[in-house]
Symmetry: D2
């Protein structure tokens, strides 16, 4: 059994980790971390866990936790992990970080978008970006795994084959994303009150949302990979090479990749939908595009390429680790509309974290994650 500790177990993402791990046949939770509820029964914080979880919440003590756990999940605010992590801890345990601390390779980009200084930049290079389907080969050996953001996972997976195959012009990419309210966290803030969110939709963080550089960096790797393969051929580790170029300021290779990303808040609990627009670089048909998606995702259990004419809807993935992707070519405008949907709490956070844990511990990737979506 894998002994897992969770720091930040009483946030929504932390609680979803609890839901997934207590049902996981090869894992057990040994530490329910929560600074806000120290010594309170976990099931008093989350009534759904009554008679399922008996433990009390414990304070944050990464040192002690590293002694007790084989893996630590950090579902914490930005900056926390970078402030407490150390080589010593990484020698004792593995860390899967659901915050943004180790997602971006370039510390300047991090500090610019997040507005805080990074306390452990030396570990940025080692950290492995955990978008499982795209970085699978690098995950098993990771000590420090940077689990991607929810908007990020949706946007990248939806656009990746198109970018990698250079079927779309990277200068034209627009991602209009919509998220359920659990993505805003469990903080008691006025804008997240029921009556403020219900019966309304709003954009927020327009042009400034922190997931933007993460999407650009990863899609930048993908574009580079396409260039390398054309020019040099041969097998190629997307992220290792991509990261190197990126660190050297060569992001996106010979072509700039600057997306417009607009998140919206939707009156629903779970789900993210990303509607992505880009100009096609050629007269591609539905079959051409489908072939590209099949090439990269044809064998993926958690990615479902929808039949022609079908658009993803968040209701069909709720509660599961699936990503649904559909697309439509617009011949009038020469654009493609590519759409992806997932559950922000599962594939967008806790589910992908468990997927990565499985790889890091030599388990089948889908272990504990073959939950059918719950509808309605």
């Amino acid at each position: 059994m894998i002994k897992a500790g969770i720091i930040g177990s009483t946030g929504y993402a932390g609680q979803e980790l609890v839901r997934l791990l207590i049902a996981h046949p090869e894992a057990e939770i040994v530490w329910y971390g929560s600074r806000s509820y120290v010594d309170e029964p976990y099931s008093r914080v989350y009534g759904n866990m009554f008679k399922i979880v008996d433990a009390d919440c414990r304070d944050d003590d990464l040192q002690q936790l590293a002694e007790e756990a084989d893996v630590i999940f950090t579902a914490t605010p930005q900056g926390y992990l970078a402030g407490v992590i150390s080589e010593d801890i990484l020698k004792k345990t593995k860390i899967i970080d659901l915050s943004a601390d180790f997602r971006l390779k370039n510390v300047n980009v991090y500090e610019k978008w997040y507005g805080i200084s990074h306390k452990a930049p030396a570990l940025l290079r080692e950290a492995v970006y955990g978008l499982t389907e795209l970085n699978r080969e690098n995950i098993p050996d990771a000590r420090l795994l940077a689990n991607p953001g929810c908007y990020t996972t949706t946007s990248i997976l939806t656009l990746y084959p198109l970018i990698r195959e250079h079927m779309i012009d990277p200068a034209t990419v627009i991602v209009d994303a919509k998220s359920g309210t659990s993505g805003a966290g469990r903080g008691a803030k006025l804008p997240n009150l029921y009556c403020e969110v219900n019966e309304s939709i709003k954009p927020y963080g327009v042009t400034t949302h922190r997931h933007t550089p993460e999407i650009e960096e990863q899609l930048g790797y993908a574009w580079l990979a396409g260039e390398y393969e054309k020019e040099e051929g041969g097998a190629w580790n997307l992220f290792r090479v991509g990261q190197k170029e990126y660190e050297e300021g060569n992001a996106g290779g010979k072509k700039a990749l600057t997306i417009s990303f607009t998140p919206h808040l939707v009156p629903m609990n779970r789900g993210i939908l990303a509607t992505c627009y880009a100009s096609l670089t050629g007269n591609y048909t539905e079959a051409d595009v489908r072939a590209a998606y099949e090439k990269y995702y044809g064998n993926e259990y958690f990615i479902r390429i929808l039949p022609e004419g079908t658009c993803p809807e968040t209701r069909w993935v709720e509660g599961s680790n699936f990503v649904d992707i559909g697309f439509k070519i617009d011949e009038r405008s020469g654009r493609i509309v590519a759409m992806g949907a997932l559950d922000n709490m599962v594939k967008g956070a806790a589910g992908q974290a468990v997927q990565n844990m499985n790889l890091m511990f030599g388990l089948p990737e889908t272990e504990g994650l073959r939950l059918p979506p719950v509808f309605p």
Copy 2:
């Protein structure tokens, strides 16, 4: 592997059966019945099942299905099963009926409340009422299992210990129940449109809802059981004896049990909450009442008696087979307010059906049902 067939698999309850059975380690679905979608891929009717269920929908053919399946679930309109069932079929397969056809023992009561004539009254006696926790000993041998209604399960489980122990006056019982909209089914009817249900709450079926006599009958057994035990002592099969008395028109024994039951439609997908009121028959304390609940439910996995001062909320049971029960004594009025919550699609329909299937096939009762509630 248990071969299961579902008639009515494209209704909400049918689809929930699909969700539970495909994740069940000892069952496989061999027949996705749906008169409305014959030959259409099941996953086109329910997009959540894309790449999970490959089968097409099949027409209703109980004879053929009885050849292929070890158990048939009927999630069908009232009257369907009674019209097609036969001794021949029951010799070949077991039936778990999610409709109301075999829930009431008295055919006159059925025909009065449902407004249709019963086509198979001879089987009423044999049918076993599947409120698992209360009728567990009779379920393993059942050929025809009448799976209880959603409102019914909530109301009966909430009130049972109080009635059985004669702690409340059965003449004063009021059940005010609130249900999510999935209980109204997937029929394309104007009152169930999003804009009609959203941002509103309404009572319906006031004094005439069909679950009323089912609640009264089962609580009537419970009251009788209390009488028998006091007067005669000894072990006692609640439902076998209760049914007999009930068939003979002796329902509720020496004291009439006529409840007021009012269902309400709530703008949410899942969940039922029953707020029950009754006058206490003595000066019972919180501890007295708690002891009664513990006596009957102390060892039940799926029934969670909440701590003092905690009321059930439907969010804490969503997606699971749990029933949460809380209560509060009102010294001012001499009444008790007992409250129960469950997921109408799971414990109120498909989950309890699987729970009963487990018993009927000698499996652990919780097999495939230990799903933690999904929140938020």
Copy 3:
């Protein structure tokens, strides 16, 4: 033009007062009070008022406000008004209090249920209870008007004719009420977050909700009135006499009136539904009961007695000052189920306050309030 000031104008009830008063042809708002947003533009707190309200929020200064306003609305926490009101202020201006400070006549009852000491008990006698339809004759001369609670208005109006006519047994009254979330106010509290409220229904304040004694007191007057009329005959001022008896501890006259009241939180913004149960005192028919409702409400603009077989639904009153009432006699149990619905923000708070203001300033009672309900 009536000059109106609002203390607590940035709560939900305060904002609804703003909405109603700016559309009122005979009123203008001269003071947008809000301790939390002093000097901020009101329209930044409530974006709906952008380009409609130009004023900034002002601090609470009842003395100054009394100089500037003809009427002051206090939409404030319990205890605030009692702590600052004075004879001096009442000589200068009228006060319509949306808090509970002056609703109960008996200071002991207030202090017991609200858990705070009352700072101005001497004014309790003078304060006029503003359930407009039932106390209309006393409102025009009021200096201090106690505007009823939202649950209270619904429950009392629904039950009043039945109690007044002694058609139901006051010892059997149960009120099961359901409210939208705006009733919980705009405080940034975890239980009111979108994801906590959405997709769930829960009871709260079971047996202890503060609106309970208010309902009991007012229905107690009604019962008394019935007694007086039978025994003594003649015209009779319900509240003046009722209050006197009540103050003397003779509440409910010769028969105790102790209700069970259970509020529930529903995932919707607005609306209250009260489902009321009571045993009938005779074999009353639908027509008998209807006659009673017509007797008291037949000429009321804001009370709509629904046709036979129709139950109130909150969607049909949203945004308006209407109260919809329906009922159903249950011959099986000898009970009546009486149901009332209103918009908790309008008739349950700001609308009734304006209705009372109209009477206090000699205007037609419906002035500024003939808004049709908004659907969907």
Copy 4:
């Protein structure tokens, strides 16, 4: 008093017309048309109108209605009005059509996008497009007014100043729109059921939605107007000239205007949000863009240009005729994100229809429409 008749008064848009017209001081409704509910009381179809509307629904009889009404609103399916309208009728009464029959000037475009043949193409030229703020000078004399679509009004008003001033490249315009569910109408269709819409967001009609050519045509006029003004100067009737060019196939003038338009269904009753993207044609600052919006909308009552940094949210316009517009320049990508929000039932349908009625009958444009938005 203007005598108004409504054909299709029992759809959602029809009902909203009823709500607005019964509160309108200069109008009265003389005909509640509804083929589905002939002879039924209108208030039984819409319970909110109980005791407000006494009339029964009447069958569709345009001839008779033309005798009785000064203005006829048609809130009917596409093709209906074109099939029954005649010069004779237009001589007797004015028509405000909420369907799409007379919105597009080019009959081929209509027939291609709507898939039906147009029965009255001769009237296309006469019909006046009723986007009030942009076509105000042509509306007073209209006999046949084509009231714009909901998505259309939002998209056009949001983009108009930018297109008119040639500040954005028309070849780069993307409109990602989100609508509440009332826009889908009151038809009893499975996809509109509560449980199908709730807790989900989905795109639909991707690249094929019928509002696309309407947006393109009107924005095409705007672009042309910009060209004309630059090249020729002088006063200029946007729509008269624009229409002429457009009819001649010269849409968009010397530059093609082909937008990508993607509507989404959001789990809320009312509201449309359009998030629009386009590449700027120069290094425009926030102040430049704001000046353009002020130039065209500075004096508009119903258009609110939000302060810098503020994005529109549908909750702030609900129930009102306002359009809220905000924008953000993205220097990184050289794009602008312009966002507009309105209530699809009011400014997107019935409210704008009444606004046009006011102009057609010489009333102040805001008569009956100065309703503050209802929140929450």
